[in-house]
């Protein structure tokens, strides 16, 4: 039996399911741009305030030294249907915020690693992270004007990617293009799942 306030008789079952996709990559590669391109609302920013207890530094006896760091994440929302909402989160750019990544990656159905061919190495940490975690990901090369165009297989080789990882070109400013990247990711995530299911017996 339902209990509690009854102005809204429909129970929790009427709330939609939410899923999330991450957009990762180096600083300035266009993560927030892509979030904004696909989101139905202006991208929002949420902040985590992290407190680390200082160890071995500024050891003032009797005073517990704590430092706080604020990590900002931009995100957007796409309402798929009455019972399904997709959230797209840009990951914090700095590598030292891995603990925030862990929270973001938990339950994420996959990730887009945005790459800029002028600074390809900037996306290595993201790729390493998702490979290590087993999170399905695709690499989307954001086509900046003036950047030398490379063939996708050259990018694949340069990033030393597993041949199964899709590499696509995109324009993170454009909604259609960014949507295609998300669709590629979802298809890849489904395939990855199927492959793992078979491997697992």
């Amino acid at each position: 039996m339902d209990y509690g306030p009854s102005e809204r008789p429909a129970g929790a079952a009427s709330l939609p399911t939410a899923i999330k996709i991450l957009i990762a990559g180096g600083f300035g590669v266009g993560k927030t741009t892509m979030v904004g391109a696909v989101s139905e609302t202006r991208p929002l920013r949420t902040e985590e305030v992290l407190t680390e207890t200082g160890v071995g530094i500024d050891d003032l006896s009797g005073v517990e030294e704590k430092r706080t760091t604020t990590v900002a994440m931009d995100f957007g929302r796409i309402t798929i249907s009455d019972d399904l909402v997709l959230y797209v989160f840009g990951t914090p750019g700095q590598d030292r915020f891995w603990f925030v990544w862990d929270e973001l990656a938990l339950g994420a159905i996959g990730a887009v690693v945005l790459a800029d061919t002028r600074r390809l190495a900037d996306c290595f940490p993201s790729i390493d992270y998702f490979e290590g975690r087993g999170t399905p990901f695709v690499v989307a090369v954001n086509c900046f004007e003036g950047a030398t165009q490379f063939r996708l297989d050259e990018v694949q080789t340069a990033l030393n990617l597993d041949p199964g990882v899709p590499v696509v070109l995109c324009d993170a400013r454009r909604r259609e293009s960014s949507k295609e990247v998300l669709i590629t990711l979802l298809e890849h995530a489904m395939k990855t799942r199927e492959a793992r299911r078979r491997a697992g017996g």
């Binding site: 306030p5 929790a12 899923i19 902040e47």
Partner: protein
């Protein structure tokens, strides 16, 4: 969210200054919610249109109930209230304990991924946008 449309009295605070109200003051020093875990994408919906004469609730609690007349994720609540996510989790715990909001945690299989029907629905939904 900060820095846009703020009243003149706040102009001396830029985006990097962080929240003007100290997060721990809002939660009265509590770092963790009394109940619940609250993923960033857990969805929250108010169960009442207003909280009436509930005692022990602060203006931020009221603001959440007001905001969640329409369904919002935890991340959206934090963004709209301009409060850190950790602070919002504590406030939501208070509201869940009083049955003032209902929360839907994201669905995941033991493998951490939703089933194929969810993937297909999202792909079709994106194509239709």
């Amino acid at each position: 969210m900060t820095g846009q449309g703020d009243s003149a009295e706040h102009e001396w605070v830029d985006d990097h200054a962080g929240p003007v109200v100290r997060p721990y003051a809002v939660t009265r020093g509590r770092a963790r919610p009394v109940t619940g875990t609250f993923d960033l994408i857990s969805l929250v919906m108010a169960t009442r249109t207003d909280v009436g004469s509930e005692s022990g609730l602060g203006p931020e609690h009221m603001a959440i109930v007001g905001l969640c007349q329409r369904m919002q994720s935890v991340a959206e609540v934090a963004a709209h209230l301009d409060l850190p996510v950790g602070t919002v989790r504590v406030l939501l715990g208070d509201l869940v304990a009083r049955s003032l909001v209902q929360v839907r945690e994201p669905r995941a299989t033991p493998a951490g991924l939703p089933d194929d029907s969810v993937f297909e629905a999202v792909i079709n939904g994106l194509r239709a946008l």
